[in-house]
Structures are given as structure tokens and as C-alpha cells.
């Protein structure tokens, strides 16, 4: 889950009171955030991915103020007086294939509190957090902050030939050419692919042609360098999707709007569409029907309690004919529908263990019959003295290779060689176990009843999950006959008798391997493991192996009920 380091002093400053850690922990336990640590001024806060607004000082303080009863209702969004011509951005059609969406808003500081270094730092830290989370490392959305007083509107968002673009990167003193910037500057190298098409790059320029930034890579000096003392800022976001861009901008605006900055919309003109930007930082309205609240929460809420609870989580609600209409601020993109508002109310009240109700069971619980069949099979192996294992399906690449099981499905992004292949036979796991147990003396009798994954182009997912039961006999005198006898016994317990046919099985001694067929189906494999395999695994004794495909056997013994199946591959819940 996302985490941020916040300044305790800044949060306390916004609350105008101190905040003991115990109190903070208590409030956050009932919220979607957690205090991970507090060292000196640094609060390490973790929040669920839907509540990024709690990962900035302004948002956390607003939330805490509600919980502490210091403030109620929504933070006001003040419209700016809006002197001068309406600011706008012209987006050219050239940007569409790369990064089509741009949105922006102009914000103005209260008269007595222009931008200071602390606020700029808070905004930049939150901006980076948003890039990493909702912005998906800038791919989906990236943000920019500019000193609006130094800009001449309208701005122009364009895709220009690299050769014609020169600018001073925000962290440099001298002008650079765009090709050199994308080839050499760390930010250019890292994010360049998001803002270029090989010969051209995205640019944001003001009406005089000055470069504000190369979205989504880096701002330019001086037009992209906000500083302490600035009174008007342009907040801008580009991305691939309008919703994501608007959400990112709404969250970033929280840092300023919570401190009384006012908003002036920025119009975006693009070919065939114009957005006046008024909806961008304006509240949305969502209905909260009282009957939905009751049916989800399982209890009735008096109207006054609902309004009080919403007010505590900094939402404003007005009664409506069927419940309430709730004003949702732009920094709460997690609130999509009535259902989300229900959660706000329920969680604001707190869910208590004693609220729990267990409805009388109208259903009859049971195991899958096929699972009972597998367990009975496992019990017989146990009765024969086989030590049961429970091994991961993800198996060591080396053992799969030594056995020559080339059909096994391999991971495209393995974490380690030990867990690189999906076993298609339990033999892989059992031989790996023998390899690790050579110090324990012989004979060894080991078994597993568990899932394997077998590639199958006719399956919905490209492979089928099957359950096998397998065993190995390791020790002097262990051979094909001993393993075949075990398989015969296991089948005889099900009143079944198969026919063994010679077979070529990878990793087996030629001429000492068989498949066992039953009404035309292969249900088991039996073999003596080849000395080549044993020597590679450093197993010093002969090993015989048998493996029964329980998924193949079940239809022959299970007398299934004809129940609907939820699993395209067989096992399912059995209804009726």
C-alpha cells in the first residue's frame, strides 16, 4: 500500500493543536490509513490505494480535524475573482497519438498567504507520490506546477520536431537542445519514451513561445519554476485518459484549496471539442438513498446521525426526497456511487464486533465429493507407509529439466529458478524431495496428492488443473514391480483394474515404464527412474515411481450428480 512521510509540525499547524501519537494511531485505525512510525517531525503514514488524499499534510489534517470535532463538513472551494482574460490552452491534434489529454486550473493564494517554501515542498512531495501511484509512474497521468503570473495565455500543447526545441531544464542553468536532453539527462532518459515519438516531443509553451515544460518529463526554467512569494499558480496535468488526469489534478489541488486558495477554470481547446474546465475542481453530487444505507449496513440510521457522520468525514449532505444528496470534492475520486457513500457512513460510525449477526444457516455445508475421493486415496497411501508431502506447484527448473518434462508450462516472469515451472507431474516434487533427503537413510517412501497444471490448447485458460496422486519408492530392491503393485492395489480399492501398456516416459528407463489404461483413458504412469536422473540428483539408490491421475479416475468412480460446473476443467461445487 502507498506510504508517505509527512511533517508532524505542518499537520499540527493546520489543526492548531498538538497531536499525540496514541491519538493519531487511534483515529487512523478507524480510517483507511495507518501510522507506521513517528520519528522526530516525520510521520510515516500508509493508506489504502483509494485514499491518497490522506498522504499529504493538508488531506490528513482535514480528516483528523473532522475526527477530532475541530471542523465539520466539506472544505470550501472558493471561486477566484478572475481578473483579466479567461486563461486557456490550445491542444493540437498532433498530441493525440501520444498523450491526448491535458487539463489545468489556475489557483490564487489568499491575500495574506502567498506560496511559501513549505507549501511548495508539500505540493511537490505529493505531486511525486501521485506520479508513482495514480499516475502509474507518469504513464497514466503527470502533473505540473507553474508560476501563472509569469505566463502569457493562451498556452499551446503540441508535438514538435525535436530539433527545434531548446529549453533550460528545471535543475540546470544552461539551455539544452531536446535531442541532447532525451539522450543524456536522467529524467529525459527515464520518462522520454512517454513524451516523444522518436522525432518529435510534447511541449507546453506560453503565448510568447516560452517553454513551460516537456510533458510528462520535466519543467523548464523560468516559466516552469514556481517559487516562494508566487500568488497565482497554474496546476496542469497530462495523460492518456481524461478521468485519471482529472483525478490526479483534483488530488493535487487539495494541498492548496485546503489552505483557502481560490480556483479559476482553464479552458482547453482541442480540435472538435472545448472543455471550459469548470467541472474539474468543482464538487460532484451523488445521492445517498436511505434504504440502500439500511440494507447494506443492516441497521437504520437516524437522519441526524447520517448528516453528522458525513460531516465528520468532511462531506456535506443535504436531505433529498429519498435520503441525501452528498457533495463530493474533487480530491475524493474513490467516491463513485451511492454505494461508496454508504461505506463512508458505516465506517465513520465504526463497525463493531458486537454488531455481528450470524444468520441461521439455511444451507447444508459439505465437501466436494471429489475432494473426499482424493482424501480417501491419500489415506490409502498413508496406510501403505508413504510419508505425505505438500509441495508448491511452482517447481525447480533444474529438476524439470533433468527429468526432461519439456511440456511443463514455464513462468514468463519467475522470481527464482526454484519456482520457475508449473509442475505437470508430481514426480518433479517427489524427486526434488529425494534429492534433499539423501542424508536420512533408506528405504524412503514418499507421496503427494495434489494439483498439477497440464498445458491444453482446448482449455479456456490454455491449461488444465488436475489432481494427481503419486509416490516414490527409494531403496535397494525397489523397482518397476514394486511400484506397479502399489498402483494395482490403489485401483483395486476402487474396484478397478487397468491394463498396463509399455510406454516411453521422460526420465524413465526405456523398457521399464508403463501407462495404465482404463476404459480407453490413461489413468496412471509407472516407471523405474533412469540412473542418469538419479545421478544428477545425487540419489544413491534405485527409485521406482507411480502416479495416478485422479482427475481422470474420478469420472470413472465418482458417479457425478450431473450438477452444474463452475470450473471449466471439472472440479466444482455440486449443487442440488
Amino acid at each position: 500500500m502507498p506510504q508517505a512521510t509527512l511533517s508532524a509540525a505542518r499537520v499540527e499547524g493546520l489543526l492548531a493543536r498538538s497531536l499525540p501519537s496514541e491519538e493519531l494511531e487511534r483515529i487512523l485505525f478507524d480510517s483507511k490509513a495507518e501510522l507506521r512510525s513517528r520519528v522526530a517531525d516525520e510521520l510515516r503514514i500508509e493508506a489504502t490505494p483509494d485514499r491518497l488524499d490522506l498522504l499529504t499534510e493538508a488531506g490528513l489534517a482535514a480528516h483528523l480535524a473532522g475526527a477530532l470535532g475541530l471542523a465539520q463538513g466539506s472544505l470550501p472551494i472558493v471561486a477566484s475573482k478572475g481578473e483579466g482574460a479567461a486563461p486557456s490552452i490550445d491542444a493540437t491534434p498532433a498530441v493525440d497519438p501520444i498523450r491526448p489529454v491535458i487539463a489545468a486550473a489556475l489557483i490564487e493564494a489568499p491575500d495574506d498567504a502567498p506560496l511559501d517554501a513549505g507549501l511548495l515542498d508539500e505540493a511537490v512531495r505529493f505531486q511525486e507520490l501521485l506520479h508513482a501511484t495514480i499516475g502509474r509512474d507518469r504513464r497514466a497521468a503527470s502533473l505540473g506546477i507553474y508560476p501563472a503570473d509569469r505566463l502569457a495565455f493562451p498556452l499551446r500543447y503540441d508535438l514538435e520536431p525535436l530539433a527545434g526545441v531548446r529549453f533550460v531544464p528545471l535543475d540546470a542553468r544552461a539551455e539544452v537542445r531536446a535531442p541532447a536532453f532525451f539522450a543524456e539527462h536522467p529524467m529525459g532518459v527515464r520518462f522520454g519514451p512517454l513524451g516523444t515519438d522518436g522525432t518529435r516531443c510534447l511541449t507546453l509553451r506560453d503565448a510568447t513561445g516560452g517553454v513551460l515544460s516537456l510533458p510528462p518529463v520535466l519543467n523548464a526554467r523560468p516559466l516552469g519554476e514556481a517559487a516562494a512569494g508566487d500568488r497565482r499558480l497554474l496546476l496542469e496535468a497530462t495523460g492518456t485518459r481524461a478521468g485519471r488526469v482529472a483525478d490526479a489534478l483534483g488530488l493535487l489541488a487539495l494541498v492548496f484549496l485546503a489552505r483557502g486558495w481560490s480556483v479559476r477554470p482553464v479552458t482547453v481547446h482541442a480540435p472538435g471539442r472545448t472543455d471550459d474546465g469548470r467541472a474539474l475542481l468543482a464538487p460532484r453530487h451523488i445521492d445517498l438513498p436511505s434504504d440502500l444505507l439500511r440494507t447494506v449496513a443492516g441497521r437504520a440510521y437516524p437522519a441526524s446521525e447520517v448528516e453528522h457522520l458525513l460531516s465528520r468525514v468532511r462531506l456535506a449532505a443535504r436531505p433529498s426526497p429519498h435520503g441525501w444528496q452528498v457533495e463530493v470534492p474533487p480530491w475524493r475520486p474513490d467516491l463513485l456511487s451511492s454505494r461508496d457513500l454508504v461505506e463512508e457512513v458505516v465506517l465513520a460510525r465504526g463497525v463493531r464486533s458486537e454488531d455481528g449477526l450470524l444468520p441461521p444457516s439455511p444451507t447444508r455445508g459439505r465437501r466436494l465429493r471429489e475432494v473426499r475421493f482424493r482424501r480417501a486415496f491419500a489415506a490409502r497411501l498413508l496406510g501403505l507407509g508413504f510419508v505425505p508431502l505438500l509441495r508448491p506447484v511452482l517447481s525447480p527448473d533444474a529438476v524439470v529439466r533433468i527429468l526432461g518434462r519439456t511440456a511443463a508450462v514455464a513462468l514468463a516472469n519467475p522470481v527464482s529458478e526454484q519456482f520457475a515451472v508449473l509442475r505437470d507431474s508430481l514426480e518433479v516434487s517427489l524427486l526434488a524431495a529425494l534429492e534433499r533427503n539423501t542424508r536420512h537413510g533408506y528405504p524412503q517412501r514418499v507421496s503427494e496428492v495434489g494439483p498439477v497444471v497440464v498445458a491444453d490448447t482446448s482449455a479456456e485458460t490454455g491449461a488444465r488443473t488436475r489432481t494427481h496422486a503419486a509416490f516414490v519408492l527409494a531403496g535397494e530392491g525397489m523397482g518397476f514391480a514394486e511400484a506397479a503393485a502399489v498402483v494395482d492395489y490403489l485401483l483395486r480399492c476402487e474396484d478397478l483394474r487397468g491394463v498396463r501398456e509399455p510406454a516411453e516416459i521422460a526420465g524413465a528407463i526405456p523398457g521399464r515404464a508403463a501407462r495404465l489404461r482404463l476404459v480407453g483413458e490413461t489413468v496412471a504412469e509407472i516407471a523405474e527412474v533412469h540412473p542418469r536422473v538419479l545421478s544428477e540428483l545425487k540419489v544413491p539408490v534405485p527409485v521406482a515411481w507411480g502416479e495416478v491421475d485422479l482427475s481422470a479416475l474420478w469420472p470413472l468412480v465418482g458417479r457425478p450428480t450431473g450438477a452444474p460446473t463452475i470450473n471449466p476443467e471439472g472440479p466444482s461445487a455440486e449443487r442440488g
Binding site: 443492516g298 464486533s353 455481528g356 498413508l382 508450462v409 522470481v415 524431495a433 533427503n437 497444471v453 490454455g462
Partner: protein, 509 residues
Amino acid sequence: MDAEPGAEDGATPVTLSPSEALLLDLLSAAPPGTLIAEEEVASRSGLSPEAVRGSLQRLRSKHLAVAEETSTSTPTLTARGRAARSAGLPERRLWRWLRERVDGVPAENLGAAGLDSEERSAAIGILRRRGWLAPGVPLRLVPGVGDSPAPLEEERVMESIASGRDDIDPKVFRALQRRGLAQVERTTTRRWRASDEGRRLPPAASAPTLLGAVSSAVLSSGAWRDRSFRPYDVRARVPFLTGARPHPYAAWLEEFEEILIGLGFEQAEGPLLETEFWNSDVLFMPQEHPARSIHDALTVRGVEGRPPPSELLERVVAAHEGRPIPGTAVPISPGWRYPYDRAVARRPILRSQTTAVSARFLAARPAPPFRMFSIDRNFRHEALDASHHLEFAQCEGILGEEGITLRHLVGVFRALAEAIGIRELKIRPSYFPFTEPSIEGYVRHPRLGWIEVFPGGLFRPEVLVPLGVGVPVAAWGIGIARLAMVALGISDIRDLYQDDLARLTGREG
């Protein structure tokens, strides 16, 4: 199991094996106080020296025989020492060899001297200390020094040892010991007599012969009818047996299943290799959700999935994109506001949550009321450590019925916690893309304190409506591996899958 009982307690009848009885008779026949050497006892009894030694020791432990022990220490040459005495000590052999090479020999040519590397360095060191070897290289003897063939001190002492003389310089002897050429050999000789108690026992010839092991011959002959069996020392050590027993983790999971079955839940399963559609899309997880990236999910090579059922796919797409479900006029919600990619839906992925099983269960449109559980494996792209495994079990459960609310979900959490012996439960808000409200149940473990165990919530309409489910559904996914670790007292998650036969059979803890 033929150890003999002790005779510490006078009330315990003394029983003797045939060989013990024979030897006690032999010792008792000698005049009182007469000691007989152990070798003499062996030759008189006709038994092997080993059998005699064991039986006499047992007679002594029963206080029936007494031994007088004499230990002697004798300096002797080791096998290496004896070889050096005949072929010459390494320093003597090196001296002889160098004496014939007055111009000196480079160190690397010393191989021809017939000494192994250990002998070579010892010999060079000794000759240098004696001042017979000139400093530096090549190696050569100091002219005029050490020409005399007089014996070295070591050679003199070795001769004395070999001929049993006692003119042995202790300092030189210790040096030979360090070089593994000489040793002190200790020998113990025992002479035996019967104790007073032993002499009082009646001769074995008059005692009834006791039966040893029960054999088929004993049974068929009926010999057991008029004879007694020699008693065993029932406290003696016996062989250490191990065997196959149910796997502890599997057994624990089965126990947990019983609890759910008791609460009216029926079991379900689904495939381990899923498509992204069933693993995520149908659960209203946006296709760009961070948990779906290759850094969090495991994908496979060379396998292609098939498209999901088209009608269901279109309904799910509408929910994601915030459009009305086909056949309806109003969207369920604004959705995720992005263009859904149908090609992603068919991509195979290793199941990352058992909620996929719930999705398949619900897609089969079960008639309410229904309760379903699934305890099965899931996979995530995690670095392996004591608390994270790429492959882990989850217990998924859903409960669908008219009138189901969040309070019922909390009720199930409480029932499950109580069933595993935990009374304290507290709930806090949480977030999952497919449930709203979402909560997490924490339980207080006596040793570990509050631990997060029950994440859950009510399925969102964006999940249920496309699936055609008309009743509210409470859902949860318990990190069952974590609970199992607590219950089994395991601190490393990898131990749940361990395959050490010594531990699985109980040979080692």
C-alpha cells in the same frame, strides 16, 4: 531385548543367562579369594573372549563377581614410526640424499628425494634447526657439518622403544608423539573371583533353565508348559520407530474446512491457471490496477487463453467503462472511465486470489440462499522470505441471501474466530476493488497481539449486476497460511511446504 535385570534389590530374584551361570560356577569352584585371569576364564569355559568379557561384566553389575584391574602404560612405535625405523627418519633420508648432491638442489626438485610433501617440510625444518642445512636456496648441506653418520637423538629413542628399554628422553618422546611416530599404549588386565553373594547362589546345574525368546519351536514343542521365561529389563532402550503420518499443514486445513462446513458452507474449486477475465476483470478490478502488473502477478509462457463467454464479457466491459449494462438504461456507476481491452481478458495468469473461484461460482447463477468456501492455492510475484511465499493458500468464502448485510459478515468473522479459540475481534475500514464497504477483522492472539486475519466486504453492484446475481453477497478471503502458522507454531512460511522426511516422520522436532 535380552538385557538382564539388576540385583540391587535383595528381594528381586536373580536370573542368569546360561553363559553367566556357567562362568559363576567356574569362579565359585576356585578356593575363596582366588583370582583367575580373564584369559584363563575364557580358556577354561570354552567361550569366546568377547562373550566372557560381556558375561563377567554383567555378573559384576549384579554384584556376583569381583574384578581386580591392573593398568599398564607402555611406550610403543606407531605403524608410521615402525616404517621410519626401518627406512630411516625423513630428515635422515633427506640428509643422505643431499650428501650426494654437494652443489645443492632447487626446492622444486626435492620430489626426487622420495619424501612426501609433509615429510619434506618436516625434514627441512629439522635439518635447518640442527644447522646442517645452509641458509637460502638451493638446498644444500653446510660443508663439513653433519658428515658424521652418528645417530640422531630421535633415532636413539626409537631404538630404545623398539627394544623395550627404559632409557627414553621424555622430551624427545613427546616430539616423536607429536610427529605421530610414537605413542603410549595402555592395557588393562582383569582377574576375577566370585563375590560372597555369588558363592552363596546355588550351582546353575540345579537351577531350572529359563526360556529365552518365544519361538515357533518353543510353541510347537510345548516347552513353555513347564518352564519359566527369562524376564527382560523392561526399562531398557528399544529401537526408535518413525512412520508416515498426515501432513500437519494439510491436516490443519482439513480441520478448518470442518468449521466452514459446520457453518453451512459448501466447497468449490477453480483452476490455478486462470484468465485475467476471471481473476480480475469480472471482479471489477481495472485492467491498469497496480496489483495486476507483472511485478505483482505471475504470468506464463507459450500458453494462450480463450475469450470469456461473450454475453458476460459485454456486461463486465460496460461496468468497467461506466456504460449501461446491455438491456438497461442507466450505468451502475461511472465505472473506471477507461477503454477496456478485450485482448487482456483472455490472457492466462496464475490465480492471484481465490475470489476468482467465487466469481466462477456466482457466474453459474446459484439459487439463493448460498454459502460457498474454497481453500486453495494462489500465486503472487513476491520475494521469498519468512512471511512471504509465491504460493500461498487462501480461504475464500461467500454468503448470498436476501437481506445479507455487513453485520452478517461481521457475524461470520466472529463465528470463525470463536471456532479457532479467539474471543477478541475488532474491525477497521479497508479497501478492495470488488467490495464496498470493505473491512478487515483483527483478532488478538495471545502471543502475537492483534493480527489482521479477516479481510472482506459486500460485493459491489459492479461485480454482482454483470454476473446476474440478484441478492447481496458478503465475501471474504482469509490469509489461511498466516492462521496456520500461528496455530502450528511456525515462524517461517516456507516450513508449511517443507519436505524434510526427518521432521515429517517425527524423527526430528
